[in-house]
């Protein structure tokens, strides 16, 4: 929310209280009471604006008190053509979804907090506590939020779970390519959502990719070949090959780069582990599975 170009409120919890997002319950209530849909705008000031915990509204109530923490890590790797890793960076974040009543005060500790190199917090996290004890102490906002994001540098060797071996050959006005994909050290986890994107050089006019698994496609506007593999199969032989037509005479200077995306659930590359989460300040028993 802006006032005269100056940001007034950007915290989603506050905004949600200013204008209540439509929900099933509310729409049912509206139809029964015959109230207009517009009435979901509250007439009172969101308490968060004035309370000292500006990110949390008061009077939150849940039948089941639970909080979900998702540890998501992203891996950025640059690999040169000989297959050696040049840069490997790990950025992680903890996405939380808090469904706790009242004003709970949480303390989250890690098994190996020293791993975290550089962190940025949601404003709810007490910085001094982190500095001194390396635990996250906070009063969570209600609903989903990003608790912290961190970076882990100097991760010298990140074992990649798959390999990609491309082969390109261009000659004259045409070319051929073959890209093989296969699993490496997957640590028993399933590699999902594998996707290869190959941006072709500007001189390429058309590509006809075929593959042994999945359906590769070529987009002539962005000049990219996209190959959605999905779940990486350990047994099957996966390769994509095809022919390239180019405007005559021009040959690309170098082979195109290949961008590979994949996802592994239930695995943190950095090895960061949450050790425990304590709740203070509220009486209720958190729901535990």
């Amino acid at each position: 929310m802006l006032d005269n170009g100056y940001p007034l409120a950007t915290e989603s919890n506050v905004l949600k209280e200013l204008i209540k997002p439509p929900s099933l319950v509310r729409s049912v209530v509206h139809t029964i009471t015959g109230e207009s849909k517009l009435a979901n705008v509250s007439s009172t000031l969101p308490t968060g604006q004035l309370s000292n915990v500006p990110w949390r509204r008061t009077g939150v109530k849940y039948a089941n008190n639970e909080i979900f923490l998702d540890l998501i890590e992203e891996l950025d790797v640059i690999i040169d053509k000989s297959g050696t890793t040049i840069v490997a960076e790990v950025q992680g974040k903890i996405q939380a979804n808090s469904r706790l009543s009242g004003m709970p005060d949480l303390t989250l500790s890690f098994m190996n907090p020293r791993l975290l190199d550089d962190v940025s917090f949601h404003p709810c996290v007490r910085y001094k506590r982190w500095e001194s004890e390396r635990v996250l102490s906070f009063i969570p906002p209600d609903g989903p939020f990003r608790l912290l994001s961190y970076q882990i540098s100097s991760q010298s060797n990140v074992a990649l779970p798959l390999y990609v071996t491309p082969q390109f050959s261009f000659s004259g006005g045409s070319g051929k390519f073959e890209v093989k994909v296969g699993p490496k050290q997957t640590m028993g986890k399933v590699v999902e959502d594998v996707k290869l994107v190959v941006p072709m050089p500007s001189c390429v006019t058309n590509v006809n990719p075929t593959s042994t698994y999945g359906m590769p496609s070529y987009d002539p506007v962005s000049r990219t070949v996209t190959w959605n593999i999905g779940k990486l199969q350990t047994q099957k032989y996966m390769s994509m090959n095809g022919s390239v037509t180019m405007t005559s005479g021009e040959a690309p200077e170098s082979n195109p780069t290949i961008m590979v995306e994949f996802k592994i659930s239930q695995l943190a590359v950095s090895g960061l582990k949450v050790s425990r989460l304590d709740i203070y300040g509220e009486k209720f028993k958190p729901f535990k599975e």
Binding site: L50, V53, M103, D118, P123, K128, R129
Partner: protein, 1069 residues
């Protein structure tokens, strides 16, 4: 016809809605409306009839629906101005939804229909008085958003009123309204500045950010308004909302640049590692000092004294400067990129160089953000790294280019890599560059080659390698790469032309094959410039160039002419004809640059063979040695912009940009930031301490604003009460904890703690005596309270302790009174003890007075006589012991004549260390430039052992000489004395003089009041307050004795308890 339908509702509306309006207004409305809406086209006729009828309906639901549709159309950019009258009358609606939507509409269209909009003003004025703070705030927001110049005075009034509103949210809105009003009517600036000044004093975090924003837009030059609020802003910084933080940090950066000395001024010649170390220590120490607060002060000061000689240079950072940096540091962990960037620029511009390192990691973290963020951050890093390259070297790999990066990001990253490259990393960088060159992105590849050139230029070790690498690129397939390489090679060769003769030769051979004009021109220039090094190549190159002259582009033609001229000078025999040919071609060229080329026009003068005045100098003119070009970052020139600013991003001055001034050579007086009323400061200090404490103490950080905010909050009682009580209790416990923690922190403090304990015990004996004059005591107490409140406002550090004491005192007062009411004689012994334990204040006066009081061993005697009955037996030995303790304890040593009856001998020593803590006697502002401070020396005055020596320092902070400074006309309580008056004849500007004054406080805590007069009849009444801890004299005690004394005290403590309760019980029976 068309306007008729339109005017209808207006006419209806005026009398019903706002009966007070004159018909004149309504007719004007009609006129203006018809001007704005010229006769409508047929298609538009009755365009919004349905909406109008909905708005006129009596049902709120319909109105709401209509308003929703209208706002929807406004959002889509459709013109709904003709609905204005129909809409505006709904501003009085009871339904808050309709009201809100009408507000939105008004903000959009009020400017177009000013007269009609005026009709709604009274509603807003009513809204400003609404009990609901939300309505007050939104009324003010909308009122200030209506850009109608006529209502500026009303807005002014509304703002002034809202500034004093109970609700911080309304005050925040008022702060937002200020820039709006300012843009509407800049004439009101002075008034608005006053309002801002008032708002700046606000203690709430909610307001702080907004008011600084207003300050920045309205009066950024009034830096003087910040002085008093500087420390507050620094302390609130962490708790302010993110956008407010950005504002405040930027403003404080500017402030710091004008108010503090340059922290980097001396570093140049300094021995680097040593310096870093000492600085770090300093930092640690300073933070320590701040943490431990009051008691740490002494130690800190002592340490500083020790450290000073270690540091060679005299620079010490202003504590306020340090405060800013310290409080900004946690914000680096913010999730908001703007905040991180703000802190980074703060450190860049204000912090000492060696502390700058902490911003590097957070900045690199920002690179993982959106592309837009990346671009800004990278351009800032590029500027920083051009200046301080070593900082980013460990993070070099973070700047490697990803294939998904867009070109602008790539270029920025390249620039940074080239900046950062050092000798250790250069080889990996070059390998990386090699892959970049083959990128299909031509611009990027060219930039890479340029980067290689820069690296080669800056790191001499690899110049050779780079040059050869570039040479190999000359055979590259891509024209662009070759061309760029040639250009870069040309620049590199200029550095060491002599050693690279064969390279020049090789480049010259390329002249035929290269077709890119820039590259070809570079080759020609190179050949011409170094024709003496490659004498054989020159004529040949020229011949080929001449052959193709007509078809070449302009830049090549120019260089061909140049080359020809140069060759003629060095080798006329072979090139004379060629040169003539080229020149004659150039003479008739289409491009006038080439026609008028100085060389071609001059050729007649000195190339024709005759000796002319100029021809002698021809060689000097054309073949003058040229300085090698410096290859540097394109971002180097952005260094003078404030980092993170828009101007920096676009590299040209944006509207409203305020350049950072250089640090002042002499920092202005830091005392301007001293705040008279330090109540909040004490609080925040406590808070800060809390942060360093354990877990629950930290909770108060969140709630810190509660103490400052006067939220009444009818809407949010629940939350507030909850958090409020929590914070209170937290703070309270903190206070206690703190007291203990503080004292136990250091050995020295342990002493003090003991002293305090001793004092408490001593007071038992004392109160008996003092009770004899219970009336007097009560008087004293009340005046003590007075003086205490005064002092507490003066000395920030004292506050926590005093407030802790305050409670028992009140209790003591009550009991004293109640006991005084009992007239019986039997009550007297009880009276003598009852308050003695409760009145923790009483000991203050005793210990305070000990240095100059009568010998203490008289106490037991007097009490013995005063206290009748059984209690005497019980008390006497105790009091005896205590009296002994009082005199012999190391801290409260005082009595002038150590009696032989004492169980311990004592030895008064000269002060080992006296705290440098000074107290303000006369503020330099109230004293018109004369500042007077005093400081207890902890010894007796020379003239009388009963007098306490006090060093009074007169300092002339003004710019003119002060003459005839005297002290005089003391108003003292009976029994108090003061030594002879001070008389300083003249005190020149900037100097100070210290005079030792003796005051006999006569065992009381009464302030010594007197006047300071300055020559032309100025008189300032001042007073010196005796402070309990200051009226002391040091003495030496061996450790054993000390422990023994301590033991007795503890024993006493347990022994006294029953002795007191005994009589009490009796009295009750």
């Amino acid at each position: 016809m068309s306007t008729g339908g339109y005017q209808g509702p207006t006419a209806d509306f005026t009398p019903t809605g706002f009966g007070s309006d004159s018909p004149e207004t309504s007719s004007r409305n009609g006129a203006s409306a018809s001007v704005i809406n010229p006769p409508l086209f047929a298609a538009d006729y009755k365009r919004h009839e349905d909406l109008k009828s909905m708005l006129d309906s009596s049902k709120d639901g319909q109105k709401r629906e209509a308003m929703k549709l209208i706002i929807g159309m406004v959002a889509k950019g459709k013109d709904c101005a003709d609905l204005f009258p129909a809409v505006v009358k709904n501003v009085v609606s009871k339904d808050s939804e309709i009201k809100k939507l009408v507000y939105v509409y008004l903000v959009r269209y009020a400017e177009e229909q000013q007269d009609l909009a005026l009709l709604s003003i009274s509603t807003f004025q009513k809204g400003l008085k609404d009990p609901n703070q939300l309505i007050r705030a939104s009324a003010l927001r909308v009122l200030s958003s209506i850009r109608v110049p006529i209502i500026a005075p009303i807005m002014m009034l509304a703002i002034k009123e809202s500034v004093t509103d109970m609700s911080p949210f309304v005050r925040k809105t008022a702060a937002h309204a200020i820039p709006k009003l300012f843009s509407l009517d800049p004439e009101l600036k002075d008034e608005l500045v006053e309002v801002i000044e008032k708002l700046l004093k606000d203690q709430t975090t909610l307001v702080a950010g907004s008011v600084v924003m207003a300050f920045e837009t309205v009066c950024p030059d009034r830096i003087d308004m910040i002085h008093k609020n500087y420390r507050k802003l620094c302390n609130l910084l962490v708790d302010v909302d993110e956008w407010g933080q950005v504002m405040i940090i930027n403003m404080l950066t500017r402030y710091a640049r004008t108010q503090f000395a340059n922290p980097n001024q001396e570093e140049v010649a300094e021995d680097a590692p040593f310096y870093v170390e000492s600085e770090e220590e300093e930092e640690e120490e300073e933070s320590e000092e701040e943490e431990s607060g009051e008691s740490g002060d002494e130690e800190g000061e002592k340490k500083k004294k020790k450290k000073k000689p270690k540091k060679k240079k005299g620079y010490t950072m202003d504590p306020d400067h340090r405060l800013l940096l310290k409080n900004a540091k946690p914000l680096l962990q913010s999730r908001n990129a703007a905040v991180v960037m703000g802190v980074a620029q703060l450190y860049h511009h204000v912090a000492p160089r060696n502390e700058f390192g902490i911003i590097v990691k957070p900045l690199i973290r920002l690179l993982k953000g959106h592309v837009e963020t990346q671009a800004i951050v990278l351009s800032n890093i590029a500027t920083i790294s051009a200046d301080r390259c070593a900082m980013f070297e460990p993070y070099l790999k973070s700047f490697y280019i990803h294939s998904s990066d867009p070109t602008n990001i790539r270029l920025l990253k390249l620039d940074i890599i080239a900046n950062v490259a050092g000798e250790s990393s250069i080889h990996t960088i070059l390998r990386e560059f090699r892959t970049y060159i083959s990128s299909p992105d031509k611009q990027f590849a060219a930039a890479t080659i340029e980067a290689i050139g820069r690296v080669a230029c800056s790191i001499s070790e690899v110049t050779e390698t780079c040059l050869h690498g570039l040479m190999s690129l000359l055979s590259h397939k891509s024209e662009n790469v070759v061309a760029q390489s040639v250009v870069v090679i040309k620049k590199l060769l200029q550095l060491h032309p002599k050693q690279n003769k064969d390279l020049i030769d090789q480049v010259a051979r390329l002249a035929d094959s290269v077709t890119v004009p820039m590259a070809k021109a570079s080759i020609l220039w190179l050949v011409g410039e170094y024709c003496s090094l490659v004498p054989k190549m020159g004529p040949d190159v020229l011949r080929k160039a001449a052959k193709n002259f007509v078809n070449e582009s302009d830049i090549v033609k120019l260089q061909t002419v140049n080359l020809a001229a140069k060759l003629v000078l060095s080798n006329p025999k072979q090139t004379r004809l060629l040169c003539d040919y080229v020149l004659s071609l150039a003479k008739y060229d289409q491009n006038y640059d080439i026609r008028d080329n100085p060389v071609s026009s001059l050729n007649g003068l000195f190339l024709q063979g005759e000796e002319t005045a100029l021809s002698k100098y021809a060689k000097k003119i054309l073949l003058a040695p040229k300085p090698a070009p410096v290859l540097e970052s394109a971002f180097k020139d952005r260094i003078h912009w404030q980092l993170g600013s828009l101007s920096h991003a676009v590299n040209s001055e944006a509207t409203g940009y305020m350049a950072l001034s250089d640090f002042p050579a002499e920092p202005p007086d830091p005392s301007v930031r001293n705040v008279e009323d330090d109540s909040w400061w004490g609080k925040t200090k406590e808070k800060k301490k809390n942060l360093h404490g354990d877990s629950d103490s930290e909770a108060s950080n969140f709630y810190s604003s509660i103490s400052g905010s006067d939220v009444s909050g009818s809407d949010n009682e629940g939350s507030e009460e909850g958090s409020g009580s929590e914070s209170e209790s937290g703070e309270e416990s903190e206070e206690e904890e703190e007291e203990e923690g503080e004292t136990s922190s250091d050995e020295e403090d342990a002493l003090e703690k003991l002293k305090k304990r001793f004092g408490k015990k001593i007071e038992v004996s004392d109160s008996e005596e003092s009770e004899e004059e219970s009336e007097e005591e009560e008087e004293e107490e009340s005046s003590e309270e007075e003086s205490e409140t005064e002092t507490s406002s003066d000395e920030e550090e004292e506050t926590p302790r005093r407030s802790a004491i305050a409670k028992p005192k009140v209790a003591a007062g009550k009991t004293a009174k109640s006991s005084a009411l009992k007239p019986t004689a039997a009550a007297s012994p009880r009276r003598s003890e009852e308050p003695s334990l409760l009145d923790f204040d009483g000991w203050d006066s005793v210990t305070a007075s000990t240095p100059n009081s009568a010998p203490l061993n008289s106490y037991p005697i007097s009490t013995a006589t005063a206290v009748p009955g059984a209690s005497t037996n019980l008390l006497q030995p105790l009091t005896n012991q205590m009296a002994a303790l009082a005199t012999s304890s190391p801290s409260s040593s005082a009595s002038s004549a150590p009696p032989s009856t004492k169980p311990f001998t004592q030895e008064i020593i000269s002060a080992v260390h006296t705290p440098k803590k000074t107290y303000d006697l006369l503020n330099r502002i109230t004293g018109n430039g004369l500042a007077v401070t005093y400081h207890f020396c902890r010894r007796s005055h020379i003239t009388s052992s009963k007098m306490v020596a006090i060093d009074v320092t007169f300092q002339n902070c003004g710019d003119s000489t002060l003459s005839g400074i005297r002290t005089g006309s003391p108003q003292l309580q009976s029994g108090m004395r003061m030594s002879s008056d001070v008389n300083i004849k003249a005190l020149t500007a900037g100097t100070s003089q210290t005079v030792t004054v003796g005051i006999d406080f006569n065992d009381t805590l009464q302030p010594a009041k007197f006047e300071i007069s300055v020559a032309p009849g100025k008189r300032y009444p001042v007073q010196i307050d005796p402070l309990v801890g200051e009226l002391l004299r040091p003495m030496s005690v061996s450790e054993d004795k000390f422990m023994a004394l301590k033991g007795i005290i503890l024993q006493l403590y347990t022994a006294v308890q029953p002795s007191v309760h005994g009589p009490l019980v009796q009295a009750l029976l």
